[in-house]
């Protein structure tokens, strides 16, 4: 019966069009991950199938966390014993309301609260979260078996980057701890990371990740244009376009493929249609490096460089990036601003990282 119901639901969702995809699943513990209440019974056992769901979500590149009213050390100890502790980022195990825990998780990971799902067995908790955060997908733990089939839980593509997403976030947590304790100036800290920033043309194997980046990235995104796999494949092969992807590595590991850039080459000038960077690299200054790379390419070819910018409520930083790189507004078409740079001054790459350019 259940599977039939799920399938029907899925069809309906598909008919309605794209559902907002979940990026992070937040779990309750008592009677959700395990049967029983830990404070009453230290020998609680895992619920059937829960480990498979957690591992499958992890494979799909979805992050997971915890919002549980419990004793932190006791609950983390139990998760460790079960071999599950490493799957959860920023677990909120405390006596706060769950709406506060949910908000803390979204802020710590730095993703929109509307990309979270929350699983709990108690209607009270689900309603409390739903009341405060209307856009969080709230799911009953009693219907655990349906979760993997929900369209919101099925990313369109599972890329190399999605499979290691949790590990990349975990290295970020490590880096942040060290950064917070570092006393010197920021650039000095950055140079201790031994960063290597690589810019290359989008290859065959990058197309899914490139599409994923256009869909997932909002904050560090100059226009928010989304392109399909087929669009991107066409740009990649087009003589009139440059489609570049970038990746970042440092001594803690890889950040993966984190940046994308599309340039349309006209005879007189080039137009930067899209420049985006994952917000995980926000404090690394690499958006400016990518922009400087495009600027010097255009300068070398003797073209002027224009850039489109479409404001959303979160991407002001990209406007600032353009202006501080010497771009000036020359036109406005609807909600799109066109900027131009005379390319008189192009900054050199910073000394705190190594830039590799693959032609």
């Amino acid at each position: 019966m259940n599977t039939v119901a799920v399938q029907e639901k899925k069809v309906n969702a598909d008919e309605k069009g794209e559902e907002k995809k979940v990026k992070c699943v937040v779990w309750d513990l008592d009677n959700t991950i395990w049967d029983g209440v830990l404070l009453e019974d230290e020998n609680v056992v895992l619920r059937d199938g829960v480990v498979d769901i957690i591992k499958e979500l992890d494979q799909r590149g979805m992050l997971q966390s915890i919002a549980s009213k419990n004793e932190y050390d006791l609950a983390m100890g139990k998760l460790k014993e079960m071999g599950l502790d490493e799957y959860f980022l920023y677990p909120q195990i405390n006596w706060n309301s769950k709406s506060i825990s949910i908000k803390t998780i979204a802020q710590s990971i730095n993703i929109g609260i509307d990309s979270l799902a929350f699983i709990d067995d108690q209607s009270f908790e689900l309603e409390e979260v739903a009341f405060t955060h209307k856009d969080v997908l709230c799911l009953r733990a009693q219907e655990l078996e349906k979760i993997l089939n929900l369209p919101q839980m099925n990313p369109k593509f599972i890329t190399e980057d999605s499979k290691i997403r949790r590990l990349m976030y975990q290295s970020d947590i490590e880096r942040k701890k060290i950064e917070e304790n570092y006393e010197g100036p920021q650039e000095e800290f950055l140079s201790t990371l031994n960063m290597v920033f690589t810019i290359s043309p989008v290859g065959d194997g990058d197309l899914q990740r490139a599409e994923e980046l256009t869909v997932r990235t909002h904050q560090l995104n100059t226009t928010g244009y989304t392109y399909s796999y087929e669009d991107l494949d066409a740009f990649r092969k087009s003589e009139k376009h440059k489609l570049l992807i970038s990746s970042l590595d440092d001594k803690y590991g890889t950040y993966g493929k984190i940046g994308l850039c599309l340039v349309e080459c006209e005879s007189e000038f080039w137009v930067l249609k899209l420049l985006l960077m994952s917000c995980r690299v926000m404090s690394r200054g690499v958006g400016t490096v990518m922009l400087n790379h495009i600027m010097s390419l255009a300068k070398k070819e003797g073209k002027r460089l224009r850039a489109e910018f479409v404001s959303n409520d979160r991407n002001r930083m990209m406007y600032v990036t353009f202006k501080f790189a010497g771009f000036k507004e020359i036109d406005q078409v609807g909600d799109m601003v066109i900027l131009e740079n005379d390319l008189e001054h192009v900054q050199a790459f910073p000394e705190y990282l190594e830039v590799k350019i693959i032609e």
Binding site: G184, P185, G285, T288, V289, V320, G326, P350
Partner: protein
Amino acid sequence: MEEIKGKIKVFLSRFFRKHELGDDENIFELGFVNSLFAMQLIMFLEKEFSIRVENKDMDLNNFKTINSTVSFIESKMNLVEAK
């Protein structure tokens, strides 16, 4: 005016620690200025002096030296008072 200048100097010294900035020294010529620095500068000025840096204000000339930043802030603050 001296108070504004003092606050800006303290903020900038966090980024240009190896070098004592002169009041008319162009910070963009000193080396690499990234967008994070730019954003932090804008946010600092907005919060510290209760002003709003509009898109049209985001011109390198407004921020290239300590003195130009001070004049920019003063002009914004006068606007606020005039209202």
